[in-house]
């Protein structure tokens, strides 16, 4: 299941960067300007939108969009 479009649309709500300009290597904090609150709210939004339950310890290790998308794909495939 390809979650990319919906995932990037959610990210776009938090940043000035348009979904089509996002690349997998972009880092949430350094490149997209996420604060801790932003990132944790974003994880909650992913859980609600995709109806998954993220492992918080794993989620906190995520640094880039690519890593987050990979984690999400894993969760939605389970």
């Amino acid at each position: 299941m390809d979650n990319t479009v919906e995932f990037k649309n959610i990210v776009a709500q938090y940043t000035e960067i348009a979904a089509e300009d996002m690349t997998d290597d972009m880092r949430f904090r350094e490149d997209l300007g996420f604060s801790s609150l932003d990132f944790m709210s974003f994880l909650g939004e992913l859980e609600d939108t995709f109806d998954v339950e993220l492992e918080q310890e794993d989620a906190l290790q995520v640094r880039t969009l690519g890593e987050a998308l990979e984690m999400l794909d894993r969760m939605t495939e389970e």
């Binding site: 709500q13 938090y14 904090r29 604060s35 801790s36 609150l37 932003d38 944790m40 709210s41 974003f42 994880l43 909650g44 859980e47 609600d48 109806d51 339950e53 918080q56 906190l60």
Partner: protein, 464 residues
């Protein structure tokens, strides 16, 4: 067909303020007031037009509340128009201190009643050539972040019409964001997850333990009063609500030290400040390891949340149990870990956490586990408007004069790169000396810690 207005329940953040109004029996506890003025002549006709336009643009300004029902509950609705005149107040013949004192007295006024506008706004002629506006609002409409967004938007409108600058970007629709917030709050799966998080914390750590700025004598007094030597909560002041404010400014150079430490260790300033406060509380409470501080979270992350206005700020207990042998750095990360989890569960209504604790631990009425409340405001105070950036500003917040909290610390950044520590404290129990000690030791703790991140919390408490 008769027009049916759309009514909504209060959000958890709004309800927090409403419950304080009910508990303390005065709307004064929900007041927020500010003046924004520029040292420049203003076209007051244009300013009036821009304020009226702002009322149209910023939906939260048009919020009204219904009369309480038989249970005391109220609902909210948004009126489509608020075609008010904007009065002018000319204080230019006073000194700035006299003008500030007068505006301070306006901040004590209450906005009583239902189905009425919940803010007052005046155009201001101030001393020393400053001109601008004063606004006095109910916190259920807006919080301080929302007010800063409003002031910036209003000044952008003014510079657009006055100087031809770009028209400000559209603000998010307040009603849509409100509906989205209420929908999220009603999401059963989300609610269950959030509830589990807070219940698990109590299961793991047991009942919290009160810690006071003035040391263990306050808890001891509560134990005597309630005839319970095991009591772990202490009384709050319900009658003498008068609050005094003491500000301390940390200079730009040491501020940079704190900011650099946070950057280098991927730590947020909030968490560093929480560590400073909790270590002080631990120090003055015989090394108590279990400390809870109420931390306010603005709950603004998306564009819509940032620009819709509204009252989004809500407080959650940050509880940490930190042993004295824990290093400063480990303690900071422990707090960060706790706070990150709280952020993920910040849609939960914190009133439910308190209700749960009350039921579980049978605490007496009007007792709490916290004496300190923290707000950190990362937003710069300088208006982000190139047409105004070189014009001196008189921007001041006025305390509403009635505190529901024993001590409420607001930390913000100053225009010159420093930080302002604004301590609002109930004078019924606390004095300026208490605030001086708290600030002094907080700084000693923080700067000892960032210089020696491997030093243990116990050593730091002994050293400072």
């Amino acid at each position: 067909m008769k027009y049916m207005r759309k009514e909504y329940p209060l959000t958890a953040a709004q309800n927090m303020h409403y419950q304080w109004i009910r508990e303390y029996k005065t709307q004064q506890v929900s007041g927020v007031s500010s003046v924004a003025a520029l040292r420049s002549p203003l076209d007051f006709g244009l300013l009036k037009k821009c304020i009226q336009l702002e009322i149209e643009r910023y939906g939260c300004l048009r919020l009204r509340f219904t009369k309480p029902d038989e249970n005391g509950d109220i609902r909210q609705y948004i009126v489509s128009k608020d075609p008010r005149d904007i009065p002018m107040k000319d204080l230019s013949g006073m000194t700035m201190k006299e003008a500030d004192d007068l505006m301070q007295s306006w901040a004590y006024e209450t906005l009583d009643g239902n189905d009425r506008p919940m803010f007052d706004i005046y155009m201001m002629k101030l001393p020393e050539g400053y001109n601008g506006f004063f606004i006095h609002m109910d916190h259920r409409l807006i919080d301080s972040c929302g007010l800063v967004v409003m002031v910036n938007d209003l000044m952008q409108l003014y510079t657009h019409y006055r100087f031809g600058s770009e028209y400000p970007k559209d603000l998010a629709d307040f009603e849509k964001v409100l509906e989205s917030d209420l929908k999220k709050a009603g999401n059963e799966k989300r609610f269950a997850k959030d509830k589990k998080f807070w219940d698990d914390q109590l299961d793991a750590l047991g009942e919290p333990l009160y810690s006071d700025i003035q040391g263990p004598s306050v808890l001891e007094a509560a134990r005597k009063k309630h005839g319970d030597p095991q009591l772990r909560a202490a009384d709050i002041e319900r009658k003498q609500l008068f609050v005094a404010v003491k500000d301390y400014v940390l200079e730009p150079a040491p501020t940079k030290g704190l900011i650099d430490f946070c950057m280098n260790h991927q730590l947020s300033m909030t968490n560093l400040l929480l560590l400073g406060i909790r270590t002080y509380l631990s120090k003055v409470n015989d090394g108590q390891e279990d400390i809870t501080i109420e931390n306010f979270i603005s709950r603004r992350s998306t564009h819509d949340e940032w620009t819709s206005g509204g009252s989004r700020t809500i407080m959650f207990p940050c509880r940490t149990v930190i042993a004295p042998e824990t290093s400063f750095m480990e303690a900071a990360y422990e707090i960060q870990n706790v706070q990150n989890r709280i952020y993920m569960h910040s849609n939960y209504d914190p009133a439910l956490i308190r209700e749960k604790m009350k039921r579980r631990y049978h605490t007496p009425e009007d007792t709490v586990y916290e004496s300190c409340y923290l707000t950190y405001q990362p937003m710069p105070v300088k208006m982000d408007n190139p047409f105004l950036k070189d014009i001196p500003m008189h921007n001041k917040w006025f305390a509403n004069g009635a505190a529901t909290k024993k001590m409420y610390l607001t930390v913000s950044h100053t225009e010159n790169g420093g930080m302002n520590f604004s301590y609002h404290y109930q004078t019924a129990a606390l004095t300026e000396k208490d605030m001086e000690l708290l600030y002094y030791y907080m700084m000693r703790i923080l700067f000892t810690g960032i210089s020696n991140p491997d030093m243990s919390i116990g050593e730091i408490m002994e050293t400072v």
